[in-house]
């Protein structure tokens, strides 16, 4: 159990014609027992950050500490961390038992019996007890994944580091392992840093998400905060699938003017955004309302291009009837049917739109985000009555 903090952590690599900054003055605090997901596109510095915590890279400057104790100049052995690699990195010549025992043998003074007992115990919780005497080559991808997890769990580390551990699994197994990892992390209560490029994993698994781009931290927050109150244009576009629709607009009085539409803002909103005139309007696909044309304010005409049915919902790609036909995406209920070529009316509800500064990308105004509604527990509510 431990907290982990990175203060001003920077990593530069030598490249042709000067250093390449992989991680740029990163400040991050991870609380005891927290599940933090580092997410970002490839090359954003998330893996480098994890490797700095693991001790596989040393930071060019800045500080990394576990429980207030500076660790970035320690060897991995002294840091009390365990890591799961993307490729699992199991030792192919050792049995599962030996693979799991290796870390304990090398980093602790425990007796062979103690180690064996611990390995067996962890293997049971991971449901790989019967695989202990097999070699990694004889295991399926999912089983290897479990062994890699077991190898890390067995060491009972202060901090658990996972580097894209699910990316080599097929979609179904990945979804299962997501749930299982979350369950395990809750059971063990170990502080966990999880690196992924997959925003779905970030949204579904984390207590908090840290979004990186170009080595810089963009936002840290709960999944709901990152989704509904993105700090900037990058986060808004990165989190969410299908991603948010963006339109370049300029503010003229109370009106947002774009090539395709004119959007009238309420007085209150205008006062929030007055400072800048070049803006980007963002709206999530599920927030766009599709209805028959009624000619009411802030409703625009659009033509349906393609409909992708997902069963529970339909992703509809449309383009504006006016202007140069920019496309955007809307999700509607799976039972509502639209056909290609159909002209419909679309409306952007004002409480659902985000506005970003076109130049800096900073958020100027986020959607109205009410508190999350808690589903009442069945037992207590009936007891109250």
């Amino acid at each position: 159990m431990a907290s982990l903090s990175l203060v001003d952590a920077t990593k530069e690599f030598d490249g042709d014609g000067g250093g390449i900054v992989a991680v740029d003055h990163l400040d991050l605090d991870i609380q005891d027992g927290e599940f933090l997901v580092l997410v970002g596109p490839s090359g954003c510095g998330k893996s480098t950050t994890l490797r700095m915590v693991a001790g596989l890279e040393s930071p060019t400057s800045g500080e990394i500490a576990i429980d207030e104790e500076v660790i970035h100049d320690q060897t991995p052995q002294e840091r009390d961390i365990a890591m799961v690699f993307q490729s699992y990195a199991l030792y192919p010549h050792m049995t599962v038992r030996r693979n799991m025992a290796f870390g304990l043998e090398e980093s602790t003074d425990q007796s062979a019996d103690e180690i064996d007992e611990r390995v067996t115990e962890v293997a049971e919780t991971l449901d790989i007890g019967e695989l202990l005497d097999r070699k990694p080559g004889a295991l399926s991808g999912g089983q290897q994944q479990r062994v890699a997890l077991g190898r890390a769990i067995v060491r009972d580390p202060k901090v658990f580091l996972l580097d894209e551990p699910l990316s080599n699994l097929d979609a179904k197994l990945r979804a299962e392992m997501r749930t299982e990892l979350q369950r395990l992390q809750e059971e063990l209560g170990v502080t966990t840093v999880y690196v992924t490029h997959d925003q779905t994993e970030a949204m579904t698994m984390s207590d908090r998400i840290a979004i990186l781009d170009g080595g810089k931290l963009q936002q840290v927050g709960t999944p709901m905060q990152c989704y509904h109150e993105p700090a900037n244009l990058f986060v808004a576009g990165f989190i969410g699938e299908p991603s948010m629709n963006f339109f370049d607009v300029s503010l003229d009085g109370r009106t947002l003017v774009s090539e395709e539409f004119e959007y009238t803002l309420s007085e209150e909103t205008v006062t929030e955004v007055e400072a800048s005139t070049d803006l980007v309007l963002g709206i999530r696909p599920e927030d766009v309302e599709i209805a028959a044309e009624s000619g009411e304010e802030n409703q625009f005409r659009a033509v349906v291009d393609v409909v992708e049915p997902h069963g529970n919902e339909n992703a509809v790609h449309l383009h504006f009837a006016e202007g140069d036909g920019r496309t955007f995406t809307v999700t509607i209920g799976g039972m509502r049917r639209l056909d290609g070529g159909q002209t419909v009316g679309v409306r952007f509800p004002e409480n659902a739109i985000h506005l970003f500064d076109a130049e800096t990308g900073e958020t100027v105004r986020n959607r109205v985000f009410e508190e999350v509604e808690q589903v009442e527990q069945l037992g207590t509510s009936s007891a109250a009555r």
Binding site: L56, P76, A82, Q86, H93, F102
Partner: protein, 318 residues
């Protein structure tokens, strides 16, 4: 496919034996065995005649009493030559030398090659060039390196004595001293082949992904333990292939010795089965006896290679 065809024709032509026979021939002529015949038969027969035919004929000659310039007499085959060999102290001596050469040369070359490859793999600069420098001796002919080492070992003005002289040792008569000459020959062979072993190991090392090192590092293993427990065990197949090649070279070190000493009779301390065999055959025309020694050499070589073949078989790679 063939089976189902057989049953179909069988049921149709009960009593019609001739049609059945024809279908069988037709099926046979379309089978993979016959159709692939022109491709595998040529190499198979060449290898068969060249290698196994040679071994067989050699074995037959070793059972005769063939000597001198007559024709061999195949009517009276017995093991008298093997009996003679087993009671010949010289055979024991050369067999012992062969084993010493085989084991010392192979082991030291492998260990040296492994160390060199690990050093190179740890990212020494100019890796490519260094690799070429070490591999270069391998490209030289035995005749060249033998002559070259003969000069190096010269008692009076050889480079080796000049070097040990710096430390106040010697001069040693590397070639003339029976206690030193085998060691000197082994050293020269190691010099020539360690580069080869290095290249084989280097290829093996580079096939091991970085995350193996990283995982061991995270698991708390130091550099030595990482290599000893994680990396070197994964070089098993590299070491097996390198070892087999080196052993075969050690057994046929005749070329090197012959080139070094310029005659069939080499110093007693370096006399190995291969030199003895050539001497018996081509100096003394004891054809049958030489053939028997050759067979003994073959059995030794098989005994050396057999455990590795067994290991490969056990791993399922054979």
């Amino acid at each position: 496919m063939a089976g189902s065809q057989d049953t179909a024709t069988g049921s149709r032509t009960i009593g019609g034996g001739e049609t059945d026979w024809r279908t069988r021939v037709e099926t046979f002529s379309k089978s993979d065995f016959v159709r692939s015949f022109p491709y595998w038969f040529v190499p198979f027969s060449l290898v068969g005649m060249g290698v196994y035919g040679g071994i067989g004929w050699n074995t037959v000659i070793s059972l005769t009493d063939y000597e001198g310039f007559d024709r061999p007499d195949y009517t009276n085959l017995d093991f008298s030559m093997y009996a003679q060999a087993l009671s010949d102290p010289w055979v024991y001596l050369t067999a012992k030398n062969t084993l010493v050469l085989l084991i010392a040369f192979t082991t030291i070359t492998l260990v040296l090659g492994l160390l060199l490859s690990i050093l190179l793999d740890r990212g020494i600069r100019y890796k490519e060039k260094i690799q070429t420098i070490y591999l270069l001796p391998m490209a030289l002919s035995f005749v060249v390196t033998a002559q070259f080492w003969l000069w190096m070992y010269n008692v009076n003005n050889g480079l080796v004595n000049a070097v040990v002289g710096v430390f106040g040792l010697g001069p040693f008569n590397w070639i003339g001293n029976p206690d030193l000459v085998l060691g000197a020959v082994i050293f020269a062979l190691i010099w020539q082949y360690s580069g080869y072993a290095m290249v084989v190991f280097l290829a093996g090392l580079q096939a091991i992904p970085d995350d193996q090192f990283e995982a061991a590092h995270i698991d708390g293993a130091g550099v030595f333990k990482t290599y000893w427990r994680v990396i070197i065990p994964q070089l098993k197949s590299s070491s097996v292939s390198a070892a087999v090649v080196l052993m075969v070279f050690a057994l046929k070190a005749f070329t090197f010795l012959y080139a070094m000493f310029g005659q069939y009779r080499v110093p007693k301390a370096t006399d190995i089965l291969a030199t003895l065999m050539v001497r018996e055959a081509f100096m003394l025309q004891h054809w049958a006896y030489a053939a028997a020694i050759g067979t003994i050499l073959l059995v030794m070589a098989l005994a050396v290679v057999a455990p590795y073949l067994w290991y490969q078989y056990g791993q399922g790679s054979l």
